[in-house]
Symmetry: C2
Subunit: 413 residues, 2 copies
């Protein structure tokens, strides 16, 4: 084999053949059934503008794979009744693993993200190689108890920090002290199942788009506020990962020039002003050093170790002065960061998640209002900040969505 003599400027691109057409059409048809089922063959044909014959042949293949089944007949306005097709989420299963700073969650799910079995394991503050060991153990044990792995589509792991999804490596995670861990490889070797690894916020966007209320949007920004502030973005229907998987570090946006020192080495990062540790320490300082009067004192019965985000949210709802003061500050910082991203990126919708946002409609209203006031006038009507739509199991749904999106959404590349 000879090397080409000239250096060619080509990005590898898939060329077109019959296989490509079929793959594309099959994927569109399956997705149509999943989203709109029960639906008849002829309805699909009309909906996506494809010939009935193609639908018939694609559907019969999908049915033989078990992903779809016929489920009775529908009504007719003067003709043969349509045979209704329905997506069957139970022929295959997915194992989702969510790694956070406090817990490792693992679950067996069907293709609709319904949890069949779940185990939550505390991280016990383990870090570095110890937590990797723990993850391997937890996965191993979980698989031991699962009888049938033949229909398992794979293991999907999501983790905060910078993740190289293509190569399955956790590149950078200060809080868990993980740098360059080839987790995909480690688990694939142990389990012989295909393993997918992705950033948590990226997975959450996919889940909101795949399972949640945001399936009609193609450009979405997802912001999660917890121990850190992470972001994930969907652009044109696909996750945007950035160079080597390192977009979405929104928590390290400089919000205050020369402000608080951050673990990243910089100063004034958003994260340090709005994450839970920041809120916690402000409350503690106010109570202990400044002897401030607040309902929080009673709510934790004097025991500040019982102070958790939901207590703060509750205090806000009870119109507590201290809580409101802190929330106002959070809103100010956050609204600057969000306004900046709107000016720069302007997605169709921004989804906020995190314990201090959850069940806190006051927060959502206030942030919308503040951002509308900050944004340049023409964009005012476009500000659309909403709360997550996935409920409490959003982490595992995120993991599931990574596999499902990859399998069921056709992508050119």
């Amino acid at each position: 084999m000879k090397e080409p003599e000239r250096g060619y400027m080509m990005l590898k691109q898939r060329t077109g053949d019959l296989k490509l057409i079929q793959e594309l059409n099959r994927s569109i048809i399956l997705d149509t059934i999943r989203k709109n089922g029960p639906i008849s063959r002829s309805e699909i044909a009309k909906l996506i503008n494809i010939s009935p014959t193609t639908v018939t042949s694609a559907v019969s293949e999908i049915i033989s794979e078990g992903l779809v089944y016929e489920d009775g007949v529908g009504t007719s306005s003067g003709g043969r009744k349509p045979v209704l097709l329905r997506f069957n989420p139970d022929t295959h299963s997915i194992i989702g693993v969510s790694i956070t700073n406090s817990y490792i969650r693992i679950a067996d799910m069907n293709l609709e993200g319904k949890i069949l079995k779940k185990v939550v394991h505390p991280t016990n503050q383990l870090k570095g190689h110890e937590i990797i060991e723990l993850i391997l153990d937890v996965v191993d044990q979980f698989l031991m108890q699962k009888a049938d792995l033949d229909y398992c589509q794979g293991i999907s792991i999501i983790s905060p920090g910078i993740v190289d999804a293509e190569n399955g490596v956790i590149t950078y995670n200060t809080k868990l002290n993980l740098y360059g861990i080839p987790l995909k490889k480690l688990i694939e070797e142990k389990t012989n199942l295909p393993v997918f690894l992705d950033n948590d916020a990226n997975a959450f966007v996919l889940a909101e788009n795949y399972f949640g209320l945001f399936s009609k949007y193609k450009d979405i920004l997802y912001i999660t506020i917890g121990e850190g502030v992470g972001s994930g973005m969907m652009v044109n229907g696909s996750i945007y990962r950035g160079f080597l998987g390192s977009s979405g570090e929104m928590g390290h946006t400089t919000i205050v020039d020369g402000g608080l020192k951050c673990s990243c080495g910089n100063r004034g990062c958003l994260e340090n002003y709005v994450n839970w540790p920041a809120i916690y320490s402000r409350i503690v300082t106010a109570i202990i050093s400044q002897n401030r009067d607040t309902v929080i004192k009673e709510m934790v019965s004097g025991d500040l170790t019982r102070l958790k985000p939901d207590i703060f949210v509750e205090a806000v709802n009870r119109q507590d002065d201290l809580a409101w003061e802190i929330m106002e500050d959070i809103l100010n910082y956050l609204s600057i960061a969000i306004t900046n991203t709107i000016h720069f990126f302007n997605p169709e919708v921004i989804i906020l998640s995190g314990e201090i946002v959850q069940d806190n409609p006051l927060f959502l209203d206030a942030i919308n209002e503040k951002v509308v006031r900050k944004v340049i006038p023409t964009l005012r009507d476009q500000v659309n900040i909403q709360s997550t739509s996935l409920g409490s199991e959003f982490e595992l749904l995120g993991a599931a969505a990574v596999i499902l999106h990859g399998k069921f959404k056709f992508q050119m590349m």
Copy 2:
């Protein structure tokens, strides 16, 4: 025709048929010839991994359209000599129009962006409807003098501000006082040629990718610093426009909380700290009010109306104290904004343009260094800020790239 009874959740998606395959392959083959020509049929087949037969048939069609021609034979290492194919940029022409605050540029270009005829018209500070009239006149006159419009692919107009490319409307442009102007429609009615309208920064990214040195990148951020600060982004090989075409307003990123008042109604926008008017007024203040000593005084021979960006750049290069002081500040503000976008978006490359960047390698080195120091540690090696690669006619090349990218780069949607 009956309306469907249920609301369907479907994004319109193109389904696969033979036409799609052919379109895709033809586009890949044409692009291969354009980028790598002169090149033989068999080389193309090997390069993009497609059958020689397909190449032959696609090429003969492209040749009959005039877009490609056979140009002699190449060398062989023991066999029939290959027939070389070359892209023919002169069978069709493009009319590019660039609108800025000071000038309207219009040019007739070939398919490689070579300018065949150019007219530059000052805007004479016209605004609102008057400048629209002027644009219509300028285009009209230019077309009158162009003999043959049959082979003209269309008119591509680029403009700063928020532009709705899909509908061809200038949505928002404070400096020219334009709001909701359906420019595409206005010009199509007058000329009967297809008209394309896009944001300038978006067009520049396309041009850097299509004509310039950045064709190997698929995720690019382009920042232009002039009278304002605009940005354009390419994501996964396509322009990202944001909701209703309003991404890229990077100039209105809040950089100083509670800082200078901005025309957008906000405070502390980046634009007000780094654009030319800001630099200009700082120099003037320093010279007149503070009586500062600087080489700029001599360079403009005491006449401050002659102070232009190139003089400032020259002063920086001559190590003038005042100029350096100002540049340091600009670098600081800009590096914050760039660092933020890297954390959020992290493209493979950031391209800077604008008069104070052009021919100013000191600036480029300094901004790279400052951003490297600000960015979170793992991203340090990935910082890649470069200068525009298109020379002085980048505006018209941008306009050309809009049409060429649309015509020659296959897109699914």
